[in-house]
């Protein structure tokens, strides 16, 4: 690992995104539109206060998962990855570079989406709003790490896109968004304890519910960080310098 090479990769990833205005617009605008839609659907009830925070955790992960898995697959197919790995660029520099680049993009997304949810849609947040942004960025990095891992198993773009429902929908269904996790059937609750998104959503809910959520959130963030490290470690196994 070399910080110069990691930053070079992060900068390159961001430059690539910068030339794609439509993708930037989608990343920033779509979460706001969906949050606004939900707030509107549930006008006059408390439902938005229950699912709004969870969604703030889900968006960054889903978006960064898709963007990363497609971008990495393109690197494999175009030969740029193979070529990079013949240079002093390490696998760690490559992966952490992606995580840093998309993490920065996620900061922008999270600030806009959180601001929109709180000040436009009137989401009630008992704890500090900045903590929502911190958790959202952690979720984005988790999405990037899982995307790097998933792209190792995709041979075509079609497969890469199909991994989204395969990797993420089960997490989405079991993360406590539809019903609280402790009301799930025991076996499903047990499964949901094994999935990273559950902890991200727990953290988000804690922040909206409690005026002093820091210690609970720190625990959840620690677990999310563990998943990030595990996903990156597994993903590095799929990045081999040599191929047949």
């Amino acid at each position: 690992m070399n910080p110069g090479l990691t930053l070079a990769t992060a900068g390159r990833v961001l430059r690539q995104v910068r030339t794609d205005h439509r993708t930037i617009a989608l990343i920033i605008v779509v979460p706001c539109v969906l949050l606004g839609l939900l707030a509107w659907i549930y006008t006059g009830t408390h439902v938005f206060d229950l699912i709004g925070p969870a969604l703030l955790g889900v968006f960054p992960m889903v978006v960064m998962f898709i963007v990363t898995s497609v971008a990495t697959l393109r690197e494999r197919q175009s030969g740029t990855l193979e070529r990079l790995l013949t240079t002093p660029m390490g696998k760690g520099d490559f992966m952490i570079g992606y995580a840093v680049g998309f993490g920065l993009l996620a900061v922008v997304q999270a600030v806009v989406a959180t601001g929109f949810a709180v000040w436009v849609c009137g989401l009630d947040v008992a704890g500090p709003v900045w903590l929502l942004v911190v958790v959202a960025v952690a979720d984005a990095v988790l999405g990037t790490a899982l995307g790097l891992l998933a792209s190792g198993f995709a041979r075509t773009e079609f497969q890469a896109v199909q991994f989204m429902p395969a990797f993420l929908l089960p997490q989405f269904l079991l993360c406590g968004l539809l019903i609280p996790r402790d009301q799930l059937p025991t076996f499903l609750e047990w499964i949901s304890n094994l999935l990273p998104l559950s902890y991200a959503v727990d953290a988000m809910k804690e922040i909206t519910r409690s005026t002093d959520p820091l210690s609970a959130v720190a625990g959840d963030l620690g677990i999310v960080a563990g998943f990030i490290i595990a996903a990156l470690a597994l993903a590095s196994l799929t990045l081999s310098r040599r191929s047949a």
């Binding site: 390159r12 430059r15 030339t19 070529r83 990079l84 013949t86 310098r241 040599r242 191929s243 047949a244």
Partner: protein
Amino acid sequence: MMNNYDGPAVAISGLQVVRGRRDVIPGLDLEIPAGEVVGLLGPSGSGKSTLMRCIVGVQITKGGTVTVLGHPAGSPELRKEVGYVTQAPSVYEDLTVRDNIAYFARAVGLRGTELRDAVDRTLAEVDLVDYGGQLIRDLSGGQESRVSLAAALVGRPTLLVLDEPTVGLDPVLRRDLWELFANLAAQGHSLVVSSHVMDEATRCDRLVLLRAGEVLADVTPEELLARTGAADADAAFLTLVDHAAETRRSAS
């Protein structure tokens, strides 16, 4: 970034490669001298790209050794010393020409003014000075392959492995690039360049003719013509291939 190792640039012995179920390289010995432009020629599918992948260390091999500048191919010591240009251009479509070259320059450790100067020099070498700010996806095929070449040239590696770098380029550009290759060799760099175009063979210091993963000839261009009695490289190559086919037939 020149390395002072004074053995051959590449030494290959007993190399075996299987791709899919095919014995692409059944057993190959070859030495590539330092400070020369070595042309790798041979029909489509003869294993030129596979051999180059072995030299840069991205090919899984079944047996044998490949030693590059005194180290096993692909080892960490070589990452700054070996530059590789794949047959299909490998650059980022959604980056500008300059950003692509600069990224690969950063990957080998260039920074600051050194980086800027190296990128400017390389843009001139591949004749893309006016295109620095253009996205790759808006370039022609030949321009794109020149960016791919530039990304390897920018770090001035000791050994350059170039897989068909002049395909699809016009005669003027081809001449300029071959002059650049000769200049680099004169400065002590080693180059392995594959090509389909036989008249480019005469621009090499040495020629390696490959057929079905075997070395048919490892000669200077003059020796090739003298040995086959042919008038040009094209004819010489055909003579050698026919001759090899005949010996094989009479042997079996």
